[in-house]
Amino acid sequence: MLTPAELVWLIAAVANGDEAAFERLYAATRAKLFGVVLRILRRQDLAEEVIQEAYVKIWNSAGKFNPGLSSPITWMASIARNRAIDVVRKRGEASIEEEPAAMEVAADTPDPLARREMTEELKRLLECVGRLEPDRQKLVLLAYYNGWSREQLAAKFEAPVNTVKTWLRRSMMDIRECLGL
């Protein structure tokens, strides 16, 4: 994996239309971005489409990347993840749910980073998530990692959608306060 500084440099080169840099950027980041969208989409074909659109967008908007606002990998992953969420929201949940690639596949082989490998920012965020009530912790993480809608979360937590809406909002505001935003 390249360092963030190297990725910034590559994105800057991509913004100048450097195709070789784009290929290196892709090689360095594709597996992470694909992992992120595959978790949400649960289907190889959809994930491939999304990843393709995401990199085309990265190519076209590399000039807009602001290293002061975001890290390169977060910026790229946000583009891919937003696209994936758009796809699942627009398809409606049913068409995704009926896929046999069961949601509960979620559970195997966690790969927790050793603490020393976590960035300070991740530790800080996990600390803040950890201050939420246990159910809310899971709610936030399921929403983020699986791209679940309020309806799906409501089904999972056996709560009305409006309640989930309130929980989510409260949780995000708590996290915001904890992070000192």
């Binding site: 694909f34 977060t74 690639a101 991740l122 909002r169 995000m172």
Partner: protein
Amino acid sequence: MMAYSDDHIALAAEYALGTLDADERAQVETMMSIDKDFAAMVQSWEHKLGVLNQMVGSVEPRPEVWERIRAAVGHSEPQAPLVLPEPSATPAALPVEQQAPVVDNSNVIRLTAKIRRWRSIATATSAIAAALVAMVGVGLSVPDLLPDSMRPRPRTQVVEAKAPPPVAKSSAQYVAVLQREGGSPAFILTVDEATKNFTVRKVGASAEPGKSFELWLISDKLPKPRSLGVIGGGDFTSRPVLASYDADLVKAATYAVTVEQAGGSPDGNPHSAPLFTGKLIETVPPPAR
């Protein structure tokens, strides 16, 4: 940023978290496009939450994905010599008899893709469990938080067979400009003759809120228009749907875009008159190498 209400802040946060519905997401995107500070707030949330992706396991996409990205951003052939078994193709169009094996081959690829899909999903690591475990790691107690299904298990690794047989490179590219009569182009459709993958590039059209553009194939050999799917919100939409159609039919067909309800026609039939139409023309003959 202080000026934003809690509602705005929560909306930005939930956008980044991903829990908004399609309409709310569209609303946030509109707000971002007209309000730079709001956009910065959304991005700040995306950045704060984005560190969670450190816990998501990497999964290698298939090599074809890069081929399609490269084609979509308009790259030429790779400079590095490829070890593809290429016949010294003439610049003329592919002879028709080459079509049949290509179609057969795509079936095989689809089957193996299916198997591969299962494997990749099985290898996707549980970021949630990882994050929960990590919270323990950062010194917080999360007793009985992990249900059975989320407990860490020994790491298993599925080694995927990479590099499926390369798709023949010498294929013609077809392009259709979809436009209103006398109007400017709204979509540009490109079709790769060998793979029959198509890409739609949106150039001058955007669907009104709550509506979707859907692409149709119209042929005198088919009883009715066939949907090729909804054109995505992004600049590019690519799909392999055409693979099931006969090559001549694909080349001779008319392509049309209609406006449908969000998510596309529910019954497989178009519900508006074709807004934009066009036919394919060959632009890139099979490359001579």
